[in-house]
Amino acid sequence: MESQNTLRRTNALEVTGKNSAIERARFATRRVVNLIMAGLVGLAALLAVGLLLVILYYVVQRGFESFFVRADGTTGPFNFNFFTATPSEGGIGPAILGTLIVVGLGALIAIPVGVLAGVYLSEYGRGRFAFAVRFIADMLTGLPSIIVGVFVATLLVRNTFGHYSGLAGGIALAIIMAPIIARTVEEVLKLVPNALREASLALGVPQWKTIVKVVLPSAISGIITGVVLSIARAAGETAPLLLTILGIENYNGNNFIGRLNPMVPVGSLPTTIYTNAGYPPNEVFRISSAWGASLILITIILIFSLLARWATRGKKVR
Protein backbone atom coordinates (compact mmCIF):
# COMPACT_ATOMS: atom_id res chain seq x y z
CA MET A 1 0.00 0.00 0.00
CA GLU A 2 2.72 2.41 0.98
CA SER A 3 4.96 1.63 -1.95
CA GLN A 4 2.03 2.17 -4.27
CA ASN A 5 1.52 5.61 -2.80
CA THR A 6 5.17 6.53 -3.23
CA LEU A 7 4.97 5.33 -6.80
CA ARG A 8 1.99 7.50 -7.53
CA ARG A 9 3.63 10.57 -6.01
CA THR A 10 6.76 10.21 -8.14
CA ASN A 11 4.59 9.90 -11.21
CA ALA A 12 2.64 13.03 -10.32
CA LEU A 13 5.80 15.09 -10.22
CA GLU A 14 7.26 13.72 -13.43
CA VAL A 15 6.50 15.81 -16.48
CA THR A 16 5.19 13.57 -19.23
CA GLY A 17 2.96 13.79 -22.25
CA LYS A 18 2.89 16.03 -25.27
CA ASN A 19 3.25 19.32 -23.32
CA SER A 20 6.34 18.17 -21.46
CA ALA A 21 8.77 20.31 -23.48
CA ILE A 22 6.77 23.47 -22.82
CA GLU A 23 6.51 22.59 -19.14
CA ARG A 24 10.26 22.15 -18.85
CA ALA A 25 10.95 25.40 -20.67
CA ARG A 26 8.61 27.28 -18.30
CA PHE A 27 10.34 25.79 -15.31
CA ALA A 28 13.73 26.86 -16.63
CA THR A 29 12.51 30.43 -17.31
CA ARG A 30 11.00 30.61 -13.85
CA ARG A 31 14.29 29.59 -12.30
CA VAL A 32 16.20 32.30 -14.17
CA VAL A 33 13.63 35.01 -13.33
CA ASN A 34 13.70 33.93 -9.70
CA LEU A 35 17.47 34.20 -9.62
CA ILE A 36 17.45 37.70 -11.16
CA MET A 37 14.75 39.01 -8.83
CA ALA A 38 16.41 37.54 -5.75
CA GLY A 39 19.64 39.22 -6.84
CA LEU A 40 17.88 42.57 -7.32
CA VAL A 41 16.21 42.67 -3.91
CA GLY A 42 19.47 41.53 -2.31
CA LEU A 43 21.29 44.36 -4.07
CA ALA A 44 18.71 46.90 -2.91
CA ALA A 45 19.10 45.68 0.68
CA LEU A 46 22.88 45.94 0.39
CA LEU A 47 22.60 49.46 -1.05
CA ALA A 48 20.38 50.64 1.81
CA VAL A 49 22.51 49.16 4.56
CA GLY A 50 25.78 49.88 2.77
CA LEU A 51 25.02 53.57 2.44
CA LEU A 52 24.23 53.79 6.13
CA LEU A 53 27.50 52.07 7.00
CA VAL A 54 29.46 54.41 4.74
CA ILE A 55 27.84 57.46 6.38
CA LEU A 56 28.48 56.09 9.85
CA TYR A 57 32.11 55.26 9.01
CA TYR A 58 32.69 58.70 7.53
CA VAL A 59 31.12 60.52 10.48
CA VAL A 60 33.08 58.47 13.01
CA GLN A 61 36.36 58.96 11.14
CA ARG A 62 36.03 62.70 10.48
CA GLY A 63 34.46 63.29 13.88
CA PHE A 64 37.27 61.53 15.69
CA GLU A 65 39.87 63.49 13.72
CA SER A 66 38.23 66.71 14.83
CA PHE A 67 38.92 65.86 18.47
CA PHE A 68 42.60 66.61 17.76
CA VAL A 69 42.10 70.02 16.11
CA ARG A 70 42.77 73.29 17.97
CA ALA A 71 40.92 76.59 17.59
CA ASP A 72 43.64 77.92 15.26
CA GLY A 73 43.26 74.93 12.94
CA THR A 74 46.48 73.15 13.98
CA THR A 75 46.49 69.50 15.00
CA GLY A 76 47.93 68.25 18.27
CA PRO A 77 47.27 65.70 20.99
CA PHE A 78 43.67 64.79 21.93
CA ASN A 79 41.79 68.02 22.60
CA PHE A 80 39.71 67.47 25.75
CA ASN A 81 38.61 71.10 25.58
CA PHE A 82 36.54 70.22 22.52
CA PHE A 83 33.73 68.92 24.75
CA THR A 84 33.68 71.76 27.23
CA ALA A 85 35.22 74.95 25.86
CA THR A 86 33.73 77.65 23.66
CA PRO A 87 34.70 77.87 19.95
CA SER A 88 37.26 80.59 20.59
CA GLU A 89 39.04 78.11 22.88
CA GLY A 90 38.67 75.21 20.47
CA GLY A 91 35.49 73.53 21.67
CA ILE A 92 31.74 73.18 21.20
CA GLY A 93 30.81 72.82 24.89
CA PRO A 94 27.91 75.32 24.81
CA ALA A 95 26.34 73.40 21.92
CA ILE A 96 26.51 70.08 23.79
CA LEU A 97 25.05 71.62 26.94
CA GLY A 98 22.43 73.43 24.86
CA THR A 99 21.28 70.21 23.18
CA LEU A 100 21.01 68.50 26.57
CA ILE A 101 18.97 71.44 27.93
CA VAL A 102 16.65 71.69 24.94
CA VAL A 103 16.10 67.94 24.48
CA GLY A 104 15.78 67.50 28.25
CA LEU A 105 13.11 70.20 28.46
CA GLY A 106 11.34 68.74 25.43
CA ALA A 107 11.34 65.26 26.98
CA LEU A 108 10.19 66.65 30.34
CA ILE A 109 7.13 68.17 28.67
CA ALA A 110 6.47 65.51 26.02
CA ILE A 111 6.86 62.29 28.05
CA PRO A 112 4.04 62.89 30.56
CA VAL A 113 1.72 64.38 27.93
CA GLY A 114 2.54 61.67 25.39
CA VAL A 115 2.30 58.72 27.79
CA LEU A 116 -0.97 59.93 29.32
CA ALA A 117 -2.44 60.62 25.87
CA GLY A 118 -1.39 57.11 24.81
CA VAL A 119 -3.06 55.63 27.91
CA TYR A 120 -6.20 57.61 27.10
CA LEU A 121 -6.28 56.40 23.50
CA SER A 122 -5.68 52.77 24.41
CA GLU A 123 -7.64 52.39 27.66
CA TYR A 124 -10.39 55.00 27.64
CA GLY A 125 -10.65 56.43 24.13
CA ARG A 126 -14.00 55.66 22.52
CA GLY A 127 -16.01 57.49 19.94
CA ARG A 128 -15.42 60.67 18.01
CA PHE A 129 -13.14 62.50 20.40
CA ALA A 130 -10.66 59.61 20.54
CA PHE A 131 -10.84 59.31 16.76
CA ALA A 132 -10.04 63.01 16.42
CA VAL A 133 -7.14 62.79 18.89
CA ARG A 134 -5.69 59.80 17.06
CA PHE A 135 -6.10 61.48 13.68
CA ILE A 136 -4.49 64.73 14.82
CA ALA A 137 -1.61 62.87 16.50
CA ASP A 138 -0.95 61.11 13.19
CA MET A 139 -1.06 64.43 11.35
CA LEU A 140 1.34 66.00 13.85
CA THR A 141 3.78 63.11 13.44
CA GLY A 142 4.01 63.91 9.76
CA LEU A 143 4.06 67.69 10.18
CA PRO A 144 7.25 69.25 8.72
CA SER A 145 9.31 70.34 11.71
CA ILE A 146 10.00 73.80 10.28
CA ILE A 147 6.30 74.55 10.61
CA VAL A 148 6.46 73.67 14.30
CA GLY A 149 9.45 76.04 14.47
CA VAL A 150 7.61 78.90 12.79
CA PHE A 151 4.62 78.35 15.05
CA VAL A 152 6.64 78.40 18.27
CA ALA A 153 8.79 81.28 17.02
CA THR A 154 5.72 83.40 16.33
CA LEU A 155 3.75 82.43 19.41
CA LEU A 156 6.50 82.34 22.04
CA VAL A 157 9.70 83.94 20.77
CA ARG A 158 8.03 86.98 19.16
CA ASN A 159 4.82 87.45 21.11
CA THR A 160 5.27 85.97 24.57
CA PHE A 161 8.91 85.86 25.70
CA GLY A 162 10.11 88.56 23.35
CA HIS A 163 13.45 86.79 22.81
CA TYR A 164 15.01 83.47 21.79
CA SER A 165 15.32 80.87 24.53
CA GLY A 166 16.11 77.26 25.36
CA LEU A 167 12.57 76.84 26.67
CA ALA A 168 11.06 77.85 23.32
CA GLY A 169 13.29 75.23 21.65
CA GLY A 170 12.25 72.63 24.21
CA ILE A 171 8.58 73.35 23.60
CA ALA A 172 9.08 73.07 19.84
CA LEU A 173 10.77 69.68 20.30
CA ALA A 174 8.01 68.60 22.72
CA ILE A 175 5.41 69.31 20.02
CA ILE A 176 7.37 67.00 17.74
CA MET A 177 7.89 64.29 20.39
CA ALA A 178 4.50 64.10 22.11
CA PRO A 179 2.47 62.66 19.21
CA ILE A 180 5.17 60.07 18.49
CA ILE A 181 5.14 58.97 22.13
CA ALA A 182 1.33 58.98 22.31
CA ARG A 183 0.90 56.77 19.25
CA THR A 184 3.70 54.36 20.24
CA VAL A 185 2.34 54.03 23.77
CA GLU A 186 -1.16 53.43 22.41
CA GLU A 187 0.11 50.69 20.11
CA VAL A 188 2.14 48.88 22.79
CA LEU A 189 -0.69 49.10 25.33
CA LYS A 190 -3.06 47.58 22.80
CA LEU A 191 -0.67 44.62 22.58
CA VAL A 192 -1.16 43.88 26.29
CA PRO A 193 -3.64 40.97 26.35
CA ASN A 194 -7.12 41.93 27.49
CA ALA A 195 -7.07 38.82 29.69
CA LEU A 196 -4.64 40.60 32.04
CA ARG A 197 -6.93 43.60 32.41
CA GLU A 198 -9.87 41.27 33.08
CA ALA A 199 -7.87 39.23 35.58
CA SER A 200 -7.09 42.37 37.53
CA LEU A 201 -10.60 43.83 37.30
CA ALA A 202 -12.12 40.52 38.39
CA LEU A 203 -9.98 40.66 41.54
CA GLY A 204 -11.79 43.85 42.42
CA VAL A 205 -8.95 46.15 41.39
CA PRO A 206 -10.12 49.59 40.17
CA GLN A 207 -9.43 50.44 36.54
CA TRP A 208 -6.83 53.13 37.20
CA LYS A 209 -4.88 50.77 39.43
CA THR A 210 -5.17 48.03 36.84
CA ILE A 211 -3.62 50.40 34.30
CA VAL A 212 -0.85 51.59 36.62
CA LYS A 213 0.06 48.26 38.23
CA VAL A 214 -0.73 45.68 35.54
CA VAL A 215 -1.02 47.21 32.05
CA LEU A 216 1.83 49.74 32.12
CA PRO A 217 4.41 47.38 33.72
CA SER A 218 3.63 44.74 31.10
CA ALA A 219 4.35 47.24 28.34
CA ILE A 220 7.20 49.15 29.96
CA SER A 221 9.91 48.15 27.49
CA GLY A 222 7.75 49.18 24.53
CA ILE A 223 6.94 52.49 26.18
CA ILE A 224 10.62 53.22 26.81
CA THR A 225 11.43 52.30 23.22
CA GLY A 226 8.85 54.81 22.02
CA VAL A 227 10.24 57.51 24.28
CA VAL A 228 13.80 56.86 23.12
CA LEU A 229 12.73 56.90 19.47
CA SER A 230 11.09 60.27 19.96
CA ILE A 231 14.16 61.63 21.77
CA ALA A 232 16.39 60.41 18.94
CA ARG A 233 14.11 62.09 16.44
CA ALA A 234 13.98 65.37 18.40
CA ALA A 235 17.70 65.52 19.18
CA GLY A 236 18.49 65.74 15.48
CA GLU A 237 15.90 68.41 14.63
CA THR A 238 17.52 71.55 13.26
CA ALA A 239 14.86 73.69 11.65
CA PRO A 240 12.69 74.41 14.71
CA LEU A 241 15.79 75.16 16.80
CA LEU A 242 17.17 77.66 14.29
CA LEU A 243 13.99 79.65 14.75
CA THR A 244 13.68 79.35 18.51
CA ILE A 245 17.01 79.11 20.38
CA LEU A 246 19.19 81.38 18.21
CA GLY A 247 22.14 78.97 18.50
CA ILE A 248 24.63 81.06 20.41
CA GLU A 249 28.22 79.81 20.70
CA ASN A 250 29.05 80.91 24.24
CA TYR A 251 27.88 79.96 27.70
CA ASN A 252 25.35 82.04 29.60
CA GLY A 253 27.34 83.03 32.65
CA ASN A 254 30.28 81.55 34.48
CA ASN A 255 28.78 79.03 36.87
CA PHE A 256 27.03 75.78 35.97
CA ILE A 257 23.62 76.81 37.32
CA GLY A 258 23.65 80.04 35.32
CA ARG A 259 24.53 78.12 32.17
CA LEU A 260 21.42 75.93 32.62
CA ASN A 261 19.08 78.95 32.43
CA PRO A 262 16.35 77.97 29.93
CA MET A 263 14.98 81.50 29.54
CA VAL A 264 17.92 82.80 27.48
CA PRO A 265 19.26 81.91 24.00
CA VAL A 266 21.32 78.69 23.97
CA GLY A 267 23.32 76.67 21.44
CA SER A 268 22.72 73.17 20.14
CA LEU A 269 24.54 70.47 18.21
CA PRO A 270 22.32 70.46 15.07
CA THR A 271 22.50 74.25 14.72
CA THR A 272 26.27 74.08 15.30
CA ILE A 273 26.59 71.53 12.51
CA TYR A 274 24.47 73.76 10.26
CA THR A 275 26.48 76.91 11.01
CA ASN A 276 29.98 75.41 10.97
CA ALA A 277 29.49 73.27 7.87
CA GLY A 278 28.75 76.51 6.01
CA TYR A 279 32.20 78.01 6.65
CA PRO A 280 34.76 78.13 3.80
CA PRO A 281 37.16 75.13 3.68
CA ASN A 282 40.14 77.11 4.94
CA GLU A 283 38.41 77.55 8.31
CA VAL A 284 39.80 74.19 9.46
CA PHE A 285 38.48 74.29 13.03
CA ARG A 286 34.96 75.28 11.91
CA ILE A 287 34.67 72.51 9.34
CA SER A 288 36.15 69.86 11.61
CA SER A 289 33.97 70.86 14.56
CA ALA A 290 30.89 70.28 12.37
CA TRP A 291 32.04 66.67 12.08
CA GLY A 292 32.85 66.54 15.77
CA ALA A 293 29.38 67.81 16.62
CA SER A 294 27.85 65.16 14.31
CA LEU A 295 29.74 62.36 16.03
CA ILE A 296 28.77 63.64 19.48
CA LEU A 297 25.10 63.92 18.42
CA ILE A 298 25.08 60.32 17.17
CA THR A 299 26.84 59.17 20.34
CA ILE A 300 24.32 60.92 22.59
CA ILE A 301 21.44 59.19 20.78
CA LEU A 302 23.29 55.86 21.01
CA ILE A 303 23.85 56.34 24.75
CA PHE A 304 20.14 57.07 25.18
CA SER A 305 19.19 53.84 23.41
CA LEU A 306 21.68 51.83 25.46
CA LEU A 307 20.45 53.38 28.70
CA ALA A 308 16.89 52.44 27.74
CA ARG A 309 17.96 48.86 27.06
CA TRP A 310 19.81 48.77 30.35
CA ALA A 311 16.86 50.23 32.25
CA THR A 312 14.50 47.54 31.00
CA ARG A 313 16.92 44.61 31.22
CA GLY A 314 15.73 41.49 33.00
CA LYS A 315 12.70 43.23 34.44
CA LYS A 316 10.69 40.07 33.94
CA VAL A 317 10.77 37.55 36.75
CA ARG A 318 12.19 34.24 35.66
Binding site: P193, A195, L196, R197, E198, A199, S200, L201, A202, L203, G204, V205, P206, Q207, K209, T210, K213, V214, P217, S218, K315, K316, V317, R318
Partner: protein, 281 residues
Protein backbone atom coordinates in the same frame (compact mmCIF):
# COMPACT_ATOMS: atom_id res chain seq x y z
CA UNK B 1 -29.15 45.77 54.48
CA UNK B 2 -26.65 43.40 55.91
CA UNK B 3 -25.41 42.57 52.44
CA UNK B 4 -25.03 46.26 51.75
CA UNK B 5 -22.82 46.39 54.81
CA UNK B 6 -20.89 43.39 53.55
CA UNK B 7 -20.27 44.88 50.12
CA UNK B 8 -19.18 48.19 51.54
CA UNK B 9 -16.92 47.08 54.34
CA UNK B 10 -15.32 43.76 53.48
CA UNK B 11 -11.70 44.37 52.69
CA UNK B 12 -9.62 41.56 51.22
CA UNK B 13 -7.31 41.59 54.21
CA UNK B 14 -10.10 41.29 56.73
CA UNK B 15 -11.50 38.52 54.55
CA UNK B 16 -8.20 36.69 54.56
CA UNK B 17 -8.01 36.81 58.33
CA UNK B 18 -11.45 35.26 58.55
CA UNK B 19 -10.37 32.51 56.17
CA UNK B 20 -10.30 29.80 58.76
CA UNK B 21 -13.86 30.44 59.92
CA UNK B 22 -15.48 27.28 58.59
CA UNK B 23 -18.31 27.14 56.10
CA UNK B 24 -19.22 30.24 54.15
CA UNK B 25 -20.35 31.07 50.67
CA UNK B 26 -23.51 32.94 49.85
CA UNK B 27 -26.42 32.23 47.58
CA UNK B 28 -27.30 34.40 44.67
CA UNK B 29 -30.52 35.10 42.85
CA UNK B 30 -31.05 36.38 39.34
CA UNK B 31 -34.33 38.11 38.43
CA UNK B 32 -35.55 39.14 34.95
CA UNK B 33 -32.03 39.63 33.73
CA UNK B 34 -31.45 41.05 30.26
CA UNK B 35 -27.92 41.62 28.94
CA UNK B 36 -27.24 43.84 25.94
CA UNK B 37 -24.35 44.78 23.68
CA UNK B 38 -25.52 48.19 22.47
CA UNK B 39 -29.01 47.50 21.14
CA UNK B 40 -28.35 43.81 20.64
CA UNK B 41 -30.09 41.68 23.27
CA UNK B 42 -27.74 38.78 24.01
CA UNK B 43 -29.41 37.22 27.07
CA UNK B 44 -33.09 37.60 27.86
CA UNK B 45 -35.28 37.14 30.89
CA UNK B 46 -33.13 34.90 33.05
CA UNK B 47 -34.49 33.89 36.47
CA UNK B 48 -32.51 31.50 38.61
CA UNK B 49 -31.17 30.93 42.12
CA UNK B 50 -27.70 29.72 43.00
CA UNK B 51 -27.75 27.80 46.27
CA UNK B 52 -24.96 28.58 48.77
CA UNK B 53 -22.07 26.10 48.79
CA UNK B 54 -23.36 24.35 45.70
CA UNK B 55 -21.99 24.17 42.19
CA UNK B 56 -24.28 25.53 39.50
CA UNK B 57 -23.36 24.69 35.90
CA UNK B 58 -24.40 26.72 32.85
CA UNK B 59 -24.49 24.57 29.72
CA UNK B 60 -25.55 25.13 26.15
CA UNK B 61 -24.17 25.38 22.61
CA UNK B 62 -21.71 28.08 21.52
CA UNK B 63 -23.19 31.54 21.33
CA UNK B 64 -26.13 30.81 23.64
CA UNK B 65 -25.08 33.51 26.09
CA UNK B 66 -23.56 31.41 28.89
CA UNK B 67 -20.44 33.53 29.12
CA UNK B 68 -22.41 36.75 28.87
CA UNK B 69 -24.70 35.55 31.66
CA UNK B 70 -21.88 34.55 34.00
CA UNK B 71 -20.15 37.88 33.42
CA UNK B 72 -23.26 39.75 34.51
CA UNK B 73 -23.01 37.99 37.89
CA UNK B 74 -20.01 40.05 39.03
CA UNK B 75 -20.45 43.07 36.80
CA UNK B 76 -17.66 42.03 34.47
CA UNK B 77 -20.13 42.28 31.59
CA UNK B 78 -19.85 46.04 31.65
CA UNK B 79 -16.09 46.04 31.01
CA UNK B 80 -16.38 44.07 27.77
CA UNK B 81 -16.19 46.08 24.53
CA UNK B 82 -19.35 46.92 22.59
CA UNK B 83 -21.38 49.25 24.86
CA UNK B 84 -22.60 46.52 27.23
CA UNK B 85 -25.67 47.07 29.42
CA UNK B 86 -27.66 45.04 31.94
CA UNK B 87 -31.30 45.15 33.05
CA UNK B 88 -32.83 43.23 35.93
CA UNK B 89 -31.47 42.16 39.29
CA UNK B 90 -28.69 39.99 40.64
CA UNK B 91 -28.82 39.75 44.41
CA UNK B 92 -26.66 38.40 47.20
CA UNK B 93 -28.48 38.16 50.53
CA UNK B 94 -31.23 40.28 49.08
CA UNK B 95 -28.90 43.08 48.01
CA UNK B 96 -29.06 43.87 44.29
CA UNK B 97 -25.52 44.29 42.93
CA UNK B 98 -26.91 46.54 40.21
CA UNK B 99 -28.61 48.91 42.65
CA UNK B 100 -27.63 52.55 42.44
CA UNK B 101 -24.62 53.41 44.57
CA UNK B 102 -23.13 49.92 44.53
CA UNK B 103 -19.47 50.05 43.51
CA UNK B 104 -18.74 47.38 40.87
CA UNK B 105 -15.17 47.15 42.17
CA UNK B 106 -16.46 45.98 45.58
CA UNK B 107 -18.87 43.56 43.92
CA UNK B 108 -15.93 41.93 42.14
CA UNK B 109 -14.02 41.57 45.40
CA UNK B 110 -16.98 39.61 46.77
CA UNK B 111 -17.55 37.58 43.61
CA UNK B 112 -14.32 36.28 42.11
CA UNK B 113 -13.85 35.00 38.58
CA UNK B 114 -11.67 32.42 36.82
CA UNK B 115 -11.36 32.72 33.05
CA UNK B 116 -11.22 30.37 30.12
CA UNK B 117 -7.54 30.87 29.39
CA UNK B 118 -5.21 30.88 32.41
CA UNK B 119 -4.09 34.50 32.83
CA UNK B 120 -1.46 34.82 35.56
CA UNK B 121 0.27 38.22 35.61
CA UNK B 122 3.45 37.63 33.59
CA UNK B 123 5.46 40.31 35.39
CA UNK B 124 4.79 38.76 38.80
CA UNK B 125 6.16 35.71 40.58
CA UNK B 126 3.96 32.85 41.75
CA UNK B 127 3.57 34.24 45.26
CA UNK B 128 3.05 37.78 43.95
CA UNK B 129 0.32 36.43 41.71
CA UNK B 130 -1.46 34.89 44.67
CA UNK B 131 -1.22 38.13 46.63
CA UNK B 132 -2.03 40.33 43.62
CA UNK B 133 -5.65 40.90 44.61
CA UNK B 134 -4.64 42.05 48.08
CA UNK B 135 -1.59 44.08 47.07
CA UNK B 136 -3.22 45.77 44.08
CA UNK B 137 -6.11 46.78 46.29
CA UNK B 138 -3.68 48.57 48.55
CA UNK B 139 -3.84 46.05 51.39
CA UNK B 140 -0.80 46.21 53.66
CA UNK B 141 0.29 42.81 54.85
CA UNK B 142 3.40 41.72 56.66
CA UNK B 143 5.81 39.24 55.12
CA UNK B 144 4.76 36.47 57.46
CA UNK B 145 1.07 37.05 56.96
CA UNK B 146 1.66 37.21 53.21
CA UNK B 147 3.42 33.85 53.23
CA UNK B 148 0.55 32.34 55.23
CA UNK B 149 -2.00 33.57 52.71
CA UNK B 150 0.15 32.30 49.82
CA UNK B 151 0.50 28.85 51.38
CA UNK B 152 -3.12 28.58 52.41
CA UNK B 153 -4.46 29.73 49.03
CA UNK B 154 -2.10 27.47 47.08
CA UNK B 155 -3.04 24.53 49.33
CA UNK B 156 -6.71 25.20 48.73
CA UNK B 157 -6.01 25.32 45.00
CA UNK B 158 -4.12 21.98 45.26
CA UNK B 159 -1.00 23.59 43.87
CA UNK B 160 1.17 24.06 46.97
CA UNK B 161 3.13 20.81 46.76
CA UNK B 162 4.03 21.42 43.13
CA UNK B 163 5.29 24.99 43.52
CA UNK B 164 6.40 25.41 47.14
CA UNK B 165 10.10 25.34 46.17
CA UNK B 166 9.81 27.93 43.40
CA UNK B 167 7.45 30.59 44.70
CA UNK B 168 9.66 33.36 43.33
CA UNK B 169 9.59 31.99 39.78
CA UNK B 170 7.33 33.63 37.21
CA UNK B 171 3.72 32.50 37.12
CA UNK B 172 4.16 32.09 33.37
CA UNK B 173 6.77 29.36 33.96
CA UNK B 174 4.07 26.91 35.06
CA UNK B 175 2.17 24.50 32.83
CA UNK B 176 -1.30 25.46 31.61
CA UNK B 177 -3.08 23.38 34.26
CA UNK B 178 -0.85 24.74 37.02
CA UNK B 179 -1.41 28.29 35.75
CA UNK B 180 -5.16 27.76 35.95
CA UNK B 181 -4.89 26.51 39.53
CA UNK B 182 -2.66 29.51 40.28
CA UNK B 183 -5.45 31.73 38.95
CA UNK B 184 -7.92 29.92 41.22
CA UNK B 185 -5.53 30.45 44.17
CA UNK B 186 -5.32 34.13 43.24
CA UNK B 187 -9.10 34.38 43.15
CA UNK B 188 -9.68 32.68 46.52
CA UNK B 189 -6.83 34.59 48.20
CA UNK B 190 -9.11 37.63 48.42
CA UNK B 191 -11.71 35.42 50.14
CA UNK B 192 -14.74 35.96 47.91
CA UNK B 193 -18.17 34.57 48.75
CA UNK B 194 -18.80 33.28 45.26
CA UNK B 195 -16.42 31.99 42.58
CA UNK B 196 -17.44 32.23 38.93
CA UNK B 197 -15.63 30.00 36.44
CA UNK B 198 -15.97 30.65 32.71
CA UNK B 199 -15.00 27.38 30.97
CA UNK B 200 -12.01 26.93 33.28
CA UNK B 201 -10.92 23.65 31.68
CA UNK B 202 -11.42 24.31 27.99
CA UNK B 203 -7.74 25.14 27.46
CA UNK B 204 -6.49 22.20 29.53
CA UNK B 205 -5.63 18.54 28.92
CA UNK B 206 -7.71 15.75 30.52
CA UNK B 207 -5.44 15.24 33.52
CA UNK B 208 -5.31 18.95 34.35
CA UNK B 209 -9.07 19.04 33.83
CA UNK B 210 -9.53 16.23 36.33
CA UNK B 211 -7.45 18.12 38.89
CA UNK B 212 -9.55 21.26 38.46
CA UNK B 213 -12.75 19.20 38.76
CA UNK B 214 -11.57 17.63 42.00
CA UNK B 215 -10.62 21.10 43.18
CA UNK B 216 -14.12 22.41 42.47
CA UNK B 217 -15.48 19.60 44.62
CA UNK B 218 -13.17 20.69 47.46
CA UNK B 219 -13.89 24.39 47.07
CA UNK B 220 -17.63 24.19 47.32
CA UNK B 221 -17.43 23.64 51.07
CA UNK B 222 -16.27 27.24 51.32
CA UNK B 223 -17.60 28.98 48.26
CA UNK B 224 -20.65 29.07 46.09
CA UNK B 225 -19.53 28.16 42.59
CA UNK B 226 -21.01 28.95 39.19
CA UNK B 227 -19.32 27.27 36.24
CA UNK B 228 -19.81 27.65 32.50
CA UNK B 229 -18.88 24.54 30.58
CA UNK B 230 -19.07 23.18 27.06
CA UNK B 231 -18.58 19.72 28.37
CA UNK B 232 -21.75 17.97 29.51
CA UNK B 233 -19.86 15.17 31.23
CA UNK B 234 -18.10 17.81 33.25
CA UNK B 235 -21.38 19.48 34.18
CA UNK B 236 -22.79 16.14 35.32
CA UNK B 237 -19.64 15.31 37.29
CA UNK B 238 -19.08 18.56 39.18
CA UNK B 239 -22.39 20.38 39.49
CA UNK B 240 -25.35 20.14 41.86
CA UNK B 241 -27.60 22.27 39.67
CA UNK B 242 -27.59 22.72 35.93
CA UNK B 243 -29.00 25.47 33.78
CA UNK B 244 -29.46 24.81 30.08
CA UNK B 245 -29.47 27.79 27.72
CA UNK B 246 -30.28 28.19 24.03
CA UNK B 247 -30.24 31.03 21.53
CA UNK B 248 -31.72 29.25 18.52
CA UNK B 249 -34.92 31.35 18.51
CA UNK B 250 -33.82 34.89 19.39
CA UNK B 251 -31.70 36.01 22.33
CA UNK B 252 -30.08 33.51 24.66
CA UNK B 253 -32.44 32.40 27.42
CA UNK B 254 -32.87 29.73 30.04
CA UNK B 255 -34.57 26.60 28.74
CA UNK B 256 -34.43 24.55 31.88
CA UNK B 257 -32.92 24.85 35.32
CA UNK B 258 -32.91 22.24 38.06
CA UNK B 259 -30.92 19.68 40.03
CA UNK B 260 -28.22 18.19 37.81
CA UNK B 261 -29.42 14.61 38.39
CA UNK B 262 -32.88 15.54 37.14
CA UNK B 263 -31.65 17.54 34.12
CA UNK B 264 -29.47 14.69 32.98
CA UNK B 265 -31.87 11.83 33.66
CA UNK B 266 -35.38 13.14 33.12
CA UNK B 267 -35.37 16.61 31.64
CA UNK B 268 -38.82 18.14 31.28
CA UNK B 269 -37.97 19.93 28.06
CA UNK B 270 -37.56 18.09 24.76
CA UNK B 271 -34.80 20.50 23.67
CA UNK B 272 -32.78 19.80 26.82
CA UNK B 273 -33.02 16.10 26.17
CA UNK B 274 -31.97 16.58 22.54
CA UNK B 275 -28.94 18.59 23.62
CA UNK B 276 -27.69 16.33 26.38
CA UNK B 277 -28.15 13.24 24.28
CA UNK B 278 -26.06 14.88 21.57
CA UNK B 279 -28.79 15.28 18.96
CA UNK B 280 -27.70 18.87 18.27
CA UNK B 281 -25.33 21.59 19.51
Amino acid sequence: MQAQEEINTTTPVAGAVLAESAVKGKGMSVRNLNAYYGNYLAVKGVNMDMEPNKVTALIGPSGCGKSTLIRTLNRMHEVTPGSPRVEGEVSIDGQNIYAAGIDPVRVRRLIGMVFQKPNPFPTMSISENVLAGIKLNGGRIGRKEGLEIVEQSLRQAALWDEVKDRLSRSGASLSGGQQQRLCIARTIAVQPEIVLMDEPCSALDPIATLKIENLIEELKSQYTIVIVTHNMQQASRVSDYTAFMLATDGPGHLIEFGPTSQIFTKPTEKRTEDYITGRFG
